[in-house]
C-alpha cells in the first residue's frame, strides 16, 4: 500500500473538505466566545437540503445555495436562544443536533418515500474540477468547494489578523466588558458569527452530499461535526492550525478507507478517525500542560 500516491492525497483532501468548512464556522464562533457544538446537526441539515434542492431543480449549485440558506435559518435556532436569550448553548445544541437527525430522517421519508439512503440518476452532484478544465493530479476529481475551503482558511487567517473588523471581532472575544465599553456591538458579532457558521456548515453539508458523494443517507454527517469541534479546540483559534487538525482527520479517514481495502474489518476503519482525533486532543493537552508547568 503506497500512501504517497496521488489518489491517497486526493482522498485526504476529499475527507478533509466538509470537516474543514464546518470547523471554520466553529472557529469563527470560538473567536467571539460562542461554544458552538451544533455543527454536527447543521452539517447534516445542510447535506439534506442540498440533496433535496438539487433533486428538485436539477442544479447542484441551486442545491448548494439552498443548503447555505436553509442552514443559516437553522443556525438562527441556536443564535436566537443562545445568544439573544442567553440560554445554555450546550443544551440548545444537543437539542438541535437531535432535531436535525429527526427532521432529516422524517422529511426524507415524506419527500423521497423511503428511509436509509437516497440516490437517483436525477440527482446532480457538483462537477469535478477536471471537467471544469483544471486537470491537475490531486484536484482533478475534487468539487470546486474543496479549493474554496482551502482559500477560506487563508482569507480567515488574513482577515482575523490584518483587518480592522477581524481585530475587533477578536477583541470582543478576548474581553467582553472592555469590548462593550469601547462601543463594539458584541451581541451583533455573536449573532453574526453563529449565522456565518450556519452558512459554512451549509457549504460543508453540500460538499458532503453533492461533492464527496452524490446521495443522502440518514445520519451521514457521522460525527464529522464533532470532529470539527475538536479541530477548533486543537486550533488555538488559528486558522492554519485548524487546517492541520482537519487534515489529520482527513488522513485518518483516508487511511481507514485503505485499511478496509487491505482486508481489515470495517469497524477498524469506522473507529480510526475518532481514535486518532482523540489521541491528538490528548497529546495537545499534555503538551500544553507541560509547557505551562515549565513556565510556572
Amino acid at each position: 500500500m503506497n500512501v504517497f500516491e496521488w489518489s491517497f492525497l486526493a482522498g485526504v483532501l476529499t475527507a478533509t473538505a466538509p470537516v474543514l468548512l464546518a470547523a471554520l464556522g466553529g472557529l469563527l464562533c470560538q473567536v467571539v466566545g460562542v461554544f458552538n457544538i451544533a455543527l454536527e446537526g447543521q452539517l447534516l441539515w445542510g447535506a439534506f437540503v442540498a440533496v433535496v434542492v438539487s433533486d428538485l431543480t436539477g442544479s447542484a449549485w441551486a442545491g448548494v445555495a439552498g443548503a447555505v440558506a436553509a442552514t443559516v435559518l437553522f443556525s438562527a435556532l441556536l443564535s436566537i436562544p443562545a445568544v439573544g436569550l442567553r440560554a445554555d448553548p450546550i443544551v440548545i445544541a444537543v437539542g438541535l443536533n437531535l432535531l436535525a437527525l429527526g427532521l432529516t430522517a422524517f422529511l426524507m421519508r415524506q419527500i423521497f418515500g423511503s428511509g436509509g439512503t437516497y440516490s437517483s440518476p436525477d440527482l446532480t452532484g457538483l462537477p469535478d474540477l477536471g471537467e471544469l478544465g483544471l486537470d491537475v493530479p490531486v484536484l482533478r476529481e475534487q468539487s470546486p468547494l474543496v479549493p474554496v475551503a482551502l482559500l477560506l482558511v487563508v482569507v480567515m487567517a488574513t482577515w482575523l489578523t490584518r483587518s480592522r473588523s477581524g481585530l475587533r471581532l477578536r477583541a470582543a472575544g478576548q474581553h467582553l466588558e472592555a469590548a462593550e465599553a469601547v462601543g463594539l456591538p458584541v451581541a451583533a458579532y455573536r449573532h453574526g458569527v453563529t449565522l456565518a457558521a450556519g452558512a459554512l456548515c451549509g457549504l460543508a453539508g453540500a460538499q458532503l452530499s453533492l461533492g464527496n458523494v452524490t446521495l443522502f443517507s440518514e445520519g451521514m454527517s457521522a460525527g464529522r461535526g464533532w470532529i470539527a469541534v475538536v479541530a477548533v479546540m486543537l486550533s488555538g483559534v488559528l486558522p492554519y492550525r485548524l487546517l492541520l487538525a482537519c487534515l489529520l482527520f482527513g488522513v485518518a479517514e483516508a487511511f481507514g478507507f485503505r485499511l478496509q481495502g487491505a482486508g481489515l474489518p470495517q469497524q477498524a476503519a469506522d473507529a480510526a478517525p475518532y481514535v486518532i482525533t482523540l489521541a491528538a486532543l490528548v497529546l495537545a493537552a499534555l503538551w500544553r500542560r507541560k509547557r505551562s508547568h515549565e513556565h510556572a
Binding site: P81, L85, V91, V94, L98, G102, A105, D270, V282, A285
Partner: protein
Amino acid sequence: MTAPALARRVVVSAPVVAVAGALALTTLVMLVVGVDPTLAYPALIRGAVADGNLEYTVAAFVPTLGMALAFALPLRAGEFNLGGDGQLAAGGVAAAALALLVPLPPVVAVVLPLVAGALAGGLVAAVAAPLSTRLKIPAIVSTLLISTPAVALASYLVRFPLAEAGTGIAQTPTLPDAAHLPFLGGSGYVTIGLPLIVVLTGLWLYADGRTVTGYEIRATGQNREFARYGGVRVDRVAAVALAGGGAFAGLSGALIVLGPPYRFVDGALTAPGYTFTAVAAVLLASARPVVVPLTVALLTVLQVGGQGMEREAGVPSQLTQIVQGLIIVIVAVLATLQARRRR
C-alpha cells in the same frame, strides 16, 4: 398550598410547557408536510398502550431509565455524558461474552454478566474523567469521541469472535438458559430488570439527596471551585460520577442482552435511540431528579408509540426525535426565562 394553586403550578411548570410547546411545533410540522394529526396522535397512543403494546412500552422503559441515570448522574457533577451508546454497547458485549464463554451456575449466571456489563460501561465512561479534570477536555466531547470506537469494537466482537457460526447474521448465539433474566409475572417481555432498575433509581435518588457523596456531587456540579475550596475532592467526585453513569449505561446494555431474544444482535442496542431519549427526559426533568422516572415514562411512551404510529398511520417514527429535540431546546429557553424573572 391550595389545590388550584398546586394545579396551576403544575400546568405552568417548565416540563409541561416544554412538552406542550414541542407537541404544538410537531403538529405544525405534520400539517406542513401533509400528515393528519387526528390520525397520527391516536395511532401513537394506541401504539404505546393498546393491546399487547403496553407490555412492550414497559420493557423499553427499563433501558431508557437506565440510560437516564447514565446521563443524569454525571450531569449532577457538571459533566455531560453523551457517550451513552458506547457504554451501552460495551456493557452489552461484556455481558454477552461472559455468559457465552464461562459456564456459570444458576443465579450467578445472571448476576455476574450484569456486573461485568456495569463494569465495562463504567470503564468506558471513566476514561473521560482524567481527560476532563486534568487535561480540561470537556466530557461532552471526549465521551462522544470514545463512543464511536466502543460501538465499533462491540460490533466487531459480535460479528467475528462471538458470532453465531454458520448463520451469517451479525449476532451472537443464544445465551445459555441460566443467563436468561426471569420474566416478571406472566409477561413475555418484562423481566426482573424492571424492579432492578426501579430499586437502583430509588437508591440513586436517596444517595443524591441524602448522602455525603450525593451532596459532594451536587456541590461539584454547581460550583467546582467553591466545592474544592470547601474540601471536596472534586476531581475524584467527577470521576466517580462519570464512572457511575457509565456503569448504569453498561448495566442497561447487559439487561437488554440478557432479556429476550437473549443475544447481542449488532445494532439492536443503539438503534432504538435509548441514549438520546434519556438525555431529553433528564433535561426535561430540569434538575429535579425525582421527576426523572416520570419524564422517562412519558418519552418512552412517545418513542414506542411512534413505532405504532408508523405501522398504523404510515407516519415516520422519526417524528418522535423531532419532538425530543424541540423539548430540549424549549426547556433550555424556559430555564433562562425563569432565571431572569427571579432576578
